[in-house]
């Protein structure tokens, strides 16, 4: 850990303590510092930036309302990532319910009916990943998404998920296996 990183951690601790003392501007600063990181996690879980944006907002509100309960300010990042991971997973379930409603309502816009010419590759991949993530159990979806975040250690992922490193590895292994099958056509 270099001096810059140490200074940054001290700064974050100071901001967290100020936020706990009801300093709103300090929390706004924390939002500015962490929004990219938590957005990345939410996008990885949800596969879609718009949905992820909602989950991030929900996550930050929960964090703001509950920051007084955080006992160790230096663990703010772990705590925030856990909140956002849970918010994103809940959002994923909401997306699933919405998709089922649309299906029941008799939407005739079936993906298979769209001609390949009309398809947008990025959009199609996004939808395919979203559908695939919907089929994963909550813990597996969280594990594979957290593992995709850079500079997050195994231990930190386990802490965020509240289980052991081995169990997290198992979740990632199973998630990969399932996703490989579900996204087979995009891997070839």
């Amino acid at each position: 850990m270099n001096n810059d990183q140490k200074a940054e951690i001290c700064d974050i601790e100071r901001l967290v303590k100020a936020s706990q003392a009801k300093d709103r501007s300090a929390f706004d600063e924390l939002v500015r510092l962490y929004q990219r990181r938590v957005m990345h996690l939410a996008v990885r879980i949800l596969g879609d930036a718009d949905e992820a944006s909602e989950a991030v907002q929900t996550g930050f509100v929960k964090a703001y309302l509950g920051i007084g309960k955080l006992k160790e300010p230096k663990r703010f990042e772990i705590w925030l990532l856990r909140i956002v991971a849970n918010a994103a997973t809940s959002q994923l379930r909401a997306v699933k319910r919405r998709a089922e409603k649309i299906k029941i309502a008799g939407s005739h816009k079936d993906k298979k009916m769209v001609s390949p010419v009309e398809r947008e590759p990025a959009k199609e991949l996004k939808e395919a990943i979203q559908q695939a993530m919907l089929k994963l159990p909550k813990k597996q979806a969280q594990a594979i998404s957290l593992f995709g975040l850079d500079d997050l250690s195994h231990k930190e992922v386990a802490e965020i998920m509240g289980c052991s490193i081995e169990v997290v590895r198992w979740y990632v292994f199973r998630a990969r296996q399932k996703l490989k099958v579900l996204l087979k056509e995009y891997l070839e």
Binding site: V31, Q35, Y64, A122, K126, R169
Partner: protein, 191 residues
């Protein structure tokens, strides 16, 4: 045994699971590609503004909820205090029942001492008739006291089905000074 073998099986599988960060698989690259594409389209300033706006709303809602909570607490406290006072008043100073008699005026019956039979005070008896007080089960149940006037000659009615009569005489002739016949006023019959 089944449990042990299952555990061993799971342990074996876990041990075979490769270390994730060490090797990126195609599926990881695909997921990362989508995430990068999605992140590229995000307007960070707009997102920041949206988050701060949501926080403002949450703060307002919380302040509002706190205010309502305080008002609700005060209101609940007032209601509880009023209820306690009301119950205390009812228990301690029961309202004497006023019983209307046919052609005999009103009689007010009041409990002045809950311990003994000398608990009934005749506040007003317009006529000279004797007063019969029926306390059903418990003297403390003031509201259930029923008063009626028996025949002027003091005889019990033949068809009266009441099983027993107790005659109570007040220890002090309270009303004697007022010129009211003590024998008539102080004889109280309980059943």
């Amino acid at each position: 045994m089944v449990c042990v073998s299952s555990k061993a099986k799971i342990k074996g599988v876990i041990e075979r699971v490769p270390r994730m960060k060490e090797k990126k698989e195609n599926i990881d690259i695909l997921l990362q590609r989508n995430a990068t594409e999605q992140m590229a389209g995000v307007g960070w300033d707009e997102l920041n503004a949206a988050i701060l706006k949501t926080l403002d709303e949450a703060e307002r809602s919380r302040a509002c909820a706190r205010r309502y909570k305080a008002v609700f607490k005060v209101a609940a406290g007032i209601i509880a205090a009023a209820a306690v006072v009301f119950i205390a008043v009812i228990v301690n100073t029961g309202v004497p029942p006023v019983v209307q008699f046919e052609n005999r005026g009103n009689v007010v019956v009041k409990l002045i001492d809950k311990k003994g039979v000398d608990a009934i005070e005749i506040k007003l008896a317009e006529s000279k008739a004797r007063v019969m007080v029926d306390i059903e089960t418990d003297q403390r149940k003031l509201a259930k006291v029923d008063v009626e006037i028996i025949d002027r000659n003091g005889q019990r009615k033949e068809n009266d089905s009441r099983p027993a009569w107790i005659i109570i005489s007040r220890p002090e002739p309270v009303f004697a000074d007022n010129g009211i016949n003590r024998d008539e006023i102080d004889l109280i019959c309980l059943m």
